[in-house]
C-alpha cells in the first residue's frame, strides 16, 4: 500500500494518538470505536491511543487547544496533526493524519 510507504513514523516507528472526548456523548463513543478500527487496519502493532475525557478533566482542553469534541491529535511523529469529528470518514482521517496524501486543498 502506498499509504503506508508515505507514512512518517517516529524514531521507533510508533504512532502516538490522543483522542479528546466529552463523557459518553454519541460522537465521542463513535470516535473511539472508529479510531480503534482504523488503527487496527493501518497501524497494527505500531500505535498507542490515549483517551482524554474533558468532562472529567476539562483543564486538559487548554493544552492542545481543543475547541470541539471529539478531536483526534497525532502527538508522534511530529508535526502535530489534528482531525476533528467522529472519525466516521476513514479517508479524511487518514489524510488528516498524513497517512495518505492530500488530494486537493480546500
Amino acid at each position: 500500500m502506498t499509504a503506508v510507504e508515505d507514512m512518517q513514523p517516529g524514531d521507533d516507528g510508533q504512532v502516538h494518538l490522543r483522542l479528546y472526548v466529552a463523557g459518553q456523548t454519541p460522537k465521542s463513543l463513535a470516535a473511539i470505536a472508529n479510531l480503534k478500527r482504523l488503527c487496527e487496519e493501518h497501524l497494527s502493532g505500531r500505535y498507542s491511543i490515549e483517551v482524554v475525557d474533558l468532562q472529567v478533566t476539562p483543564q486538559l482542553a487548554a493544552g492542545d487547544q481543543i475547541v470541539a469534541v471529539p478531536t483526534l491529535i497525532r502527538r508522534l511523529p511530529p508535526p502535530l496533526r489534528r482531525v476533528i469529528g467522529d472519525l466516521s470518514n476513514a479517508e479524511r482521517v487518514l489524510v488528516g493524519l498524513d497517512m495518505i496524501p492530500r488530494s486537493s486543498t480546500p
Binding site: V21, A22, G23, Q24, T25, P26, K27, S28, L29, L54, Q55, P58, Q59, A61, A62, G63, D64, I66, V67, A68, V69, P70, P78, L80, R82, V83, I84, G85, D86, L87, S88, G96, P106
Partner: protein, 697 residues
C-alpha cells in the same frame, strides 16, 4: 508540551498560519457535518464543556433501563422527569406523573422525610438517603430506599434534585425470612435446652446418670449423677478419657467391660450389668446397669451416649422375690405330701394303739417291737410337723412372747444340746420386748439354729443369742416381703465355718443338707423359715466362709403382754356315750373307731358331712361328732362343726386335722369346738373328747 513551545513566543510562520486556518475550517466543517457534539469554551477561569443536543442519549438509555427508579424533582417535590421503572413501582404511566407532586405517592408519615430530602439542608450537593414507603394505586405498599443528590447548582436555574429509588421488597422479604428463621432457631434452642433440663430432672428422678463419649475427640462428658453412681466424683473431672470410665469396675471384670464398649461400636447398642467398687466402702460392691447407643458419622462410630443406674437394690429384691417364689412353690408341694403322710401315720399309729391292748403283757418280744413301731410313728410325726411348718400350714398358737424369758427358761436345754466345747452367751437386752409368736415353735426354731451352729463348730466355739428391736420403713419392708413396722430380732450368731454363697442361697430348701447321710435331713431351717414367715416375720442370713454365721429371726413386735397360761394336760379318762365318726378315709375312720371303742365310746360312722347330717337328723342319741377337717364334697369339717353347733345344742364337736391353720384363718372355728392335731395319741383324743363334752355341759 512541545507543540506549545514550538508555537510559543516566536511569530508563527506562514505555513503554520495556513495550517491553523485549515484546522479552523475543518473544525467548522466537522461541526457543520454534525460530527461533533461537544465544544470547549475557554473562560478566563478555566474551560467549560458544553454538550450539544441529544449528547446525553447513552445516559438516558442507561437510566431508562436500570432496575432502580430514577426521578428528578423540583425543590417543592414536583416531578420533572421519571424513568419507566419509577412509574412501574407505582403502577402508573410516566405521562400521568410528570408535573405532579411526589408527596401523594408516599405513605403519609413519610411526607416529612421527603421534604427533608428535597430541602437538602446545609450541604446540598452531598448525597442523602432515606427509607420510605411508596403507595401503589392497587393498594400495595412498596418499601424503597431513596438516595437524593442535587444537580450542580447554577445561580439562575431553580434547584433540581435527582433521586434514585431502590425497591426493598425482596430485600425486606429476605430479611423477614431470615428473621423468621433466626427466631425459629432461637425457639428451637430454647425448646431443646428446656428438653435437656427436663431430661436431666427425669434422669435424676429415675436415679440415672448420663454419659457421652466423643469417639473422635477421645473425650468424655458425664453428669454429676453418673459420677456419683460410678464413684468417679473424687477423681476430678478434668481431661477424662474413655478408659477412665473403666476404672470403677472390678479389676478382673474391666477387660469384659471394655469388650462390651468395643462391641457397641459395631452392634450400635450397649447394655450390661456389672459390679463397681462402692465409693463409700472400699469392700462393698454395687451393681450398675449401663445402657448406651452408638451414633455414626460418615459410616464411622462418632459418639457413644447412654445412661447408668445403680441397680443393687433392684437385684437384691429380685433375688429375694425369686427365693420367696421358690419357697412358696416348694411349700405347696410339701404341704400336699405332708397331708397324705399324716393320714398314713394316723392309720399306723392308731392301729398300733388299738392293737397294743390285745398283746399279752408277758410277750416281751412283741412289746419291744410295738415300742419300736410306736417310736417310728412319733419320729415320722415330728418330721411331718417340720414339713408342715415349712409349708406354713401348721396350727400356730400365736401369743405375745418375751423371747428373753423364753431363752432363759430354755438355756439349760440349749447348753446340753450344744455340748461342752461350745459356750452359750445370752447378753442381757436393753428391754424385754414381746413379739407375737407360737412359743413352742419358736423354741423348736432356736433349737434348730443352735444345733446347726454346733455342727458348724466341730472344734468348739461360741454361740451368742441376743434380742433387739428394729423398725422397717415401707421401702425396707418391701425388700423383705413383710409389713412395715417394728420387729423383735432374735439374733443367733456362731463362730463356725460359715457358708459359701451357693450354700447360703439354698439353706431354706427342704431336704437341702451338706451333712452326711443320716446326720441331717435338711428340714431344720425349713421349719425355721416356714414358722417365721407364717408368723408374719422374716429371716436374714449373713455368712462368710471362715467368719461364722449370723441368722436373724425377725418376728412382729407387739405391745400386749402375755397372760401366759401353761397348757395343762388332762388325764386320760374313760369315756362313755355315742360318737359319730366322720372321715372320708376309711382306714383313718376305722382307726378312730377302734381308738374310741378302746376308750369306752360307742360309735356311728359317716363317710362325709352330708351323710353325717342325715344320721344326726334321724338319731337323737349322738353325743359327740368327731370329724376330719378336710373332706371332699360341698361341706367340710368346719362347716359341719358350725352347723352342728348352731342346730344341735347338746352335741359336742371335736375336729381333727393335719393342718388347720388356714381354715381357722379363713372363717374361724366356733370357740367350743375342740381341735385335735394329727397324728394324735389315744390320750390326746380322750382329753379332747372330755373337754368338748365339758364345754357342752
Amino acid at each position: 508540551m512541545r507543540a506549545d513551545e514550538d508555537t510559543g513566543d516566536k511569530l508563527p510562520s506562514r505555513e503554520q498560519l495556513e495550517e491553523r486556518l485549515r484546522e479552523a475550517e475543518e473544525t467548522l466543517d466537522a461541526i457543520r457535518r454534525g460530527e461533533v457534539d461537544a465544544v470547549v469554551v475557554h473562560h478566563p477561569d478555566g474551560e467549560r464543556i458544553y454538550t450539544l443536543e441529544s449528547a446525553d442519549r447513552p445516559y438516558r438509555v442507561l437510566v431508562e433501563h436500570m432496575q432502580e427508579g430514577a426521578v428528578t424533582l423540583t425543590s417543592d417535590g414536583v416531578i420533572l422527569y421519571c424513568n419507566r421503572r419509577f412509574a412501574a413501582l407505582l403502577g402508573l404511566t410516566r405521562e400521568s406523573m410528570i408535573g405532579r407532586s411526589v408527596i401523594p405517592y408516599l405513605e403519609r408519615a413519610d411526607a416529612r422525610v421527603m421534604t427533608e430530602l428535597l430541602s437538602g439542608g446545609a450541604d446540598a450537593g452531598a448525597g442523602r438517603a432515606a427509607e420510605v414507603t411508596l403507595h401503589r394505586t392497587d393498594g400495595h405498599a412498596i418499601p424503597v430506599t431513596l438516595s437524593a443528590v442535587d444537580l450542580p447548582f447554577e445561580a439562575d436555574l431553580p434547584r433540581i434534585i435527582c433521586i434514585i429509588a431502590t425497591d426493598l421488597t425482596h430485600a425486606r422479604q429476605r430479611s423477614h425470612e431470615l428473621a423468621a428463621t433466626n427466631e425459629q432457631l432461637a425457639a428451637e434452642m430454647v425448646e431443646r435446652r428446656s428438653a435437656e433440663d427436663r431430661l436431666a430432672v427425669a434422669l435424676d428422678a429415675a436415679g440415672m446418670g448420663s454419659w457421652d463419649i466423643d469417639l473422635e475427640q477421645g473425650s468424655v462428658t458425664i453428669s454429676r449423677q453418673a459420677e456419683v453412681i460410678l464413684g468417679l466424683a473424687e477423681a476430678g473431672s478434668a481431661a477424662r478419657t474413655p478408659d477412665s470410665l473403666l476404672h470403677p469396675f472390678l479389676a478382673h471384670e474391666q477387660a469384659e467391660v471394655k469388650a462390651a464398649f468395643d462391641l457397641a461400636m459395631t452392634t450400635g447398642v450397649l447394655d450390661f450389668e456389672r459390679r463397681v467398687r462402692s465409693p463409700s466402702e472400699e469392700s462393698a460392691r454395687r451393681w450398675v446397669h449401663v445402657i448406651g447407643r452408638t451414633y455414626h458419622r460418615d459410616g464411622l462410630p462418632a459418639r457413644l451416649v447412654g445412661v447408668v443406674a445403680d441397680v443393687t437394690e433392684r437385684r437384691l429384691m429380685e433375688t429375694q422375690l425369686r427365693q420367696a417364689q421358690k419357697m412358696e412353690a416348694v411349700g405347696q408341694l410339701t404341704g400336699g405330701i405332708a397331708h397324705d403322710f399324716n393320714n398314713l401315720l394316723m392309720v399306723i399309729g392308731g392301729s398300733l394303739d388299738v392293737l397294743e391292748s390285745s398283746i399279752p403283757g408277758e410277750n416281751a418280744r412283741a412289746q419291744r417291737f410295738f415300742a419300736a413301731a410306736k417310736s417310728g410313728v412319733e419320729r415320722g410325726a415330728s418330721l411331718n410337723q417340720q414339713l408342715l411348718a415349712f409349708s406354713r400350714r401348721q396350727d400356730l398358737q400365736a401369743q405375745p412372747v418375751c423371747v428373753d424369758d423364753l431363752l432363759r427358761a430354755f438355756a439349760t436345754l440349749l447348753s446340753r444340746a450344744l455340748g461342752e466345747t461350745v459356750s452359750l452367751e445370752l447378753p442381757q437386752p436393753a428391754q424385754r420386748w414381746y413379739c407375737r409368736s407360737d412359743p413352742h415353735q419358736l423354741e423348736t426354731a432356736i433349737l434348730n439354729l443352735a444345733i446347726n451352729a454346733r455342727d458348724a463348730m466341730p472344734h468348739g466355739g461360741r454361740l451368742t443369742i441376743m434380742t433387739a428391736l428394729t423398725t422397717l420403713t415401707p421401702r425396707e419392708a418391701l425388700a423383705v416381703d413383710a409389713e412395715a413396722g417394728s420387729y423383735v430380732v432374735v439374733r443367733v450368731r456362731d463362730s463356725g465355718t460359715g457358708m459359701t454363697p451357693e450354700t447360703a442361697a439354698r439353706i431354706f430348701d427342704p431336704f437341702f443338707t451338706t451333712k452326711a447321710m443320716g446326720k441331717g435331713t435338711g428340714l431344720g431351717l425349713s421349719q425355721v423359715y416356714g414358722f417365721v414367715r407364717q408368723s408374719g416375720g422374716f429371716v436374714n442370713v449373713t455368712s462368710e466362709m471362715g467368719q461364722g454365721t449370723t441368722i436373724d429371726l425377725c418376728l412382729p413386735y407387739t405391745d400386749e403382754v402375755a397372760a401366759a397360761s401353761p397348757v395343762t394336760q388332762a388325764p386320760t379318762a374313760a369315756g362313755d356315750g355315742r360318737v359319730l365318726v366322720v372321715d372320708d378315709d376309711i382306714n383313718v375312720r376305722e382307726v378312730s373307731v377302734a381308738m374310741l371303742s378302746a376308750l369306752g365310746y360307742t360309735t356311728v360312722e359317716a363317710g362325709d358331712a352330708v351323710e353325717a347330717l342325715g344320721i344326726l337328723a334321724q338319731r337323737s342319741d349322738i353325743h359327740v361328732i368327731f370329724s376330719d377337717v378336710i373332706m371332699p364334697g360341698e361341706i367340710n369339717g368346719l362347716d359341719l362343726a358350725r352347723y352342728v353347733r348352731a342346730n344341735y345344742a347338746n352335741v359336742a364337736v371335736v375336729l381333727a386335722s393335719g393342718y388347720t391353720a388356714q381354715q381357722r384363718d379363713d372363717k374361724g372355728t366356733p370357740s367350743d369346738v375342740e381341735l385335735l392335731r394329727k397324728p394324735y395319741s389315744r390320750a390326746a383324743l380322750a382329753a379332747a373328747l372330755t373337754r368338748a363334752r365339758a364345754a357342752q355341759a
